[in-house]
Amino acid sequence: MIAEHGVRIWAALARRRRGLAKGWYKYSRNSLSVLGLVVLVLIGLTAGLAPYIAPYPEHAAAYTNFREAGLPPSKDHLFGTDRVGRDVLSRVIFGYRFSLLLGIVVLSLAVPSGVVLGLLGGYYNGTWIEVLIMRITDVFLAVPPLVLAMSIAAMLTPNLFNAMIAISLSWWPWYCRLVYSVTASLRNQFFVREAELTGASRMHILFKEILPNCFGPIMTKVTLDMGIAILMGASLSFIGLGAQPPTPDLGTMLADGAKRLPSEWWSTIFPALAIVMVILAFNLVGDGLRDVFAVEEV
């Protein structure tokens, strides 16, 4: 009995490994996606190890040293210093922490809620539950997400945490719509019908039968959206509706640096490149995942 169980686990692991190998083969055919993944891993490591990597970790906070203010890039300060004498490189490294944190928090709030609502809406297709959920979704989609996020962030008190809440609130409808359309198309498939007839619980049908079929599109969208969520976070703090100084957020750094253009260009251009790089990396990885899952679905 135990041996048989062990064999089954072994076989399942082998199958999973073969699946992963196949997925990696499809993914790695696009060299840009591989490059994106490498950059992403590097950014992740940089953000994770920020206190050890950053040349001047204390510059990430409210530090001032006016004797070293506005210095151009040099050996001591590779990216130069900002208007109060803080090392721009150190702040960019810590800035990645906040960007990634924002992306992760936003998606871990928005994705589960959107997915659950989408599952319910799709499963109860044609009932008042579907009408209620999908009409509420429409209301949230009636203005561009950035505008909705900005208005909500403004009405709450502007800070990093509220910016995350605001972006999540304007983000879940997209997942709801995505999962809804998949679920509605699977609703009357035989495997769902059979589960219903054999008396499986609603929870089982929704999460064990239908949800796994949404996995591919959700994963792809999550990766692409990490980039967009980071972009929105940076936009909010650029306007002043997100992270507040002295938080080393890439958006706030840009807003601050832009006032010193063109003379102190380094305090703007380097954070700008940093934002573009992280978003680009997520987009490239997302494109690669799309290749992997799109083939799998057929």
């Binding site: 429409d138 505008v147 972009l231 306007i239 934002i275 573009v276 680009l280 987009n283």
Partner: protein
């Protein structure tokens, strides 16, 4: 067709009603007293109480919403706490500047996007095609405010090719406002020199907004061109000896433009939200900058109005886009007539 438009209008009105409820709800449940925010810390408690009563803040949520809806339907969106003027007056002043910017950006992205797409499709896998592919990757990953800052830095501050901020130079007196569009107003006032100045000021902000769309529309047009080029009717025309230019413009470009028009609704949403950031960088005295100031000063009446105006515009644009597609695409036209 009329039935379809009526149905869509009905849906839009329902959704906008829901949107107003949502945004009004958020505006009222957040902590903080709007009356206190409006009057500032120096006001006495009595003054605050009086304003609370005037704004119906002391009544239940449903009653507040009823009063707001009633005056909204009469065209009264309340007073802006930031400018101390009726919100509708503010909107009328600021919307044309943003509209001018967005329409100009749309024009730029349509023209340049189509040209890029046709060239990239025609010279497939050439250096130009690869460059436009790279640009589209970068375009999606670059926030519009970064584009705006870079353009401002390079073309205005380094090369001194374009003016930096605003709609006209500071010293120049603006022509009398008729349409609110600086280009048209200056022509109406008989000042073509001002039109030229206004155009110069418009170029950089409009390009900051358009760059992303040029890259994307180029890619979309390219792929639909490549798809259509292999179709039988094109090959048949080619065999019959129709001139390549005629083939491209008459038989290839029309079906290939449909995907571009389809995404125009979404594009508009992007332009609208990116205008918030670009107007900030270029000190463009438009609707989006007004909105940002309202948001930063927690001006509830103005925020609610801003969201509603954008919702209404967004709904209208989507309706127009869908109608245009129906005219462009015979397949969809027949489908909708049947439905």
């Amino acid at each position: 067709m009329a039935k379809y438009i009526a149905l869509r209008l009905g849906q839009s009105i329902f959704v906008l009603f829901g949107l107003s409820l949502l945004i009004f709800f958020i505006a009222r449940v957040v902590p903080g007293d709007p009356a206190r925010v409006a009057l500032g810390n120096l006001a006495t408690e009595e003054q605050v109480q009086k304003l609370r009563a005037e704004m119906h803040l002391d009544r239940p949520f449903a009653v507040q919403y009823y009063y707001w809806l009633k005056s909204m339907l009469r065209g009264d969106l309340g007073k802006s706490l930031y400018t101390q003027r009726p919100v509708t007056t503010d909107l009328r002043q600021y919307i044309p500047a943003t509209l001018e910017l967005i329409l100009f950006a749309t024009l730029i992205s349509l023209v340049f996007g189509q040209v890029t797409g046709v060239l990239a499709g025609y010279f497939r896998n050439s250096w130009f095609d690869n460059l436009s592919r790279l640009a589209s990757y970068l375009g999606v990953a670059t926030p519009s405010f970064v584009v705006a800052i870079l353009l401002l830095f390079i073309f205005s501050q380094l090369l001194k090719l374009a003016p930096s901020v605003g709609r006209l130079p500071l010293m120049v007196k603006a022509p009398p406002t008729v349409t609110g569009f600086m280009i048209i107003d200056s022509l109406l006032a008989g000042r073509p020199d001002l039109t030229l100045l206004a155009l110069k000021h418009l170029v950089l902000p409009a390009f900051s907004l358009a760059v992303i769309h040029i890259a994307q529309e180029g890619r979309i047009t390219r792929s639909s061109l490549i798809e259509n080029v292999q179709k039988d009717y094109i090959i048949a025309h080619e065999v019959h000896g129709i001139r390549p230019t005629k083939l491209v413009f008459k038989y290839l470009l029309k079906p290939s433009i449909i995907p571009t028009v389809t995404v125009m609704g979404l594009d508009f949403a992007f332009l609208m939200s990116n205008a918030f950031l670009v107007e900030l960088v270029f000190f463009w005295p438009g609707f989006a900058r007004y909105a940002v100031n309202a948001m930063l000063s927690k001006d509830l009446n103005a925020i609610v109005a801003v969201v509603l105006v954008i919702g209404v515009t967004f709904a209208l644009v989507n309706l127009v886009v869908d109608t245009i597609i129906t005219f462009l695409d015979p397949a969809i036209r027949i489908q909708r007539r049947g439905g």
